[in-house]
């Protein structure tokens, strides 16, 4: 099954993203903790794009597709902003976050811990980030 959302690049739209994802995931049979983890991971990637690749420009948008398959859920996030290669990005150490009193940096660490696989592709028109969760895995 495939679900799609066009998400405009405003932080206030994140709540709308959660409602969309929660509608899909609540029918998935996954427990609430896992559903929350998946919502969080997708939101972290989208928030990152909205803030850093699109400077919260409400005219820009991100496209999200959710594919629920037999053994995987795939979240495909496409945008045409500055390419952010999530795979090359190095998450900071937690201790460094504390010492430097940083408020950011934890999001992508969460994404890595929650998802089973992360893919990133870029071509001249689109960046695609694919978050893959195996079902019945963890």
């Amino acid at each position: 099954m495939k679900h799609e959302l066009k998400l405009y690049c405003e932080k206030s739209r994140l709540a709308e993203l959660r409602v969309f994802l929660s509608g899909i995931l609540s029918a998935s049979g996954l427990n609430e903790i896992t559903q929350n983890q998946l919502i969080l991971a997708v939101e972290e990637v989208c928030a990152n794009l909205i803030i850093h690749s699109h400077d919260c420009n409400p005219l820009n948008h991100i496209e999200l597709e959710v594919h629920i398959n037999q053994d995987t859920i795939i979240f495909e996030i496409r945008d045409s902003g500055k390419a952010f290669n999530i795979i090359e990005y190095k998450s900071p150490e937690i201790n460094a976050v504390i010492k430097e009193k940083r408020k950011g940096g934890l999001g992508l660490l969460l994404v890595r811990k929650i998802m089973d696989k992360i893919e990133f592709e870029t071509d001249p028109s689109f960046n695609t980030c694919r978050l893959i969760k195996r079902l019945k895995s963890k």
Binding site: S12, A15, Q37, E44, A47, I50, L110
Partner: protein, 114 residues
Amino acid sequence: MLSINKASERDHLVIALNGEVDASNSVELDEVIQEAIADNAHKILLDGSELEYISSAGLGVFMSYLEDFNEKQVTFVIFGLNEKILNVFHILGLDQLISIKNTREEAEQALYEA
């Protein structure tokens, strides 16, 4: 939606979060904690029993004050988190860095024993 309530009780400040903390409103949480530190609060209780969601933007706020809490000898205890949110703290190991209790009673005890 997020609403934040502040109340003084005995010798401590209670900050109660109601709703969802994300990148759109984490600055509100930041302001409240910053104010508490500026007002020289030494015991802060964070009531998370009505907190429904938190993303890294909110977690980052807590993390960014751990050094200040340390330097200014502020005791900061969180209680009442539901299991979904507790799980998020756990994924990052933040439950090892921040004092988290199940109930208000346990949290108060931790606050006054420290």
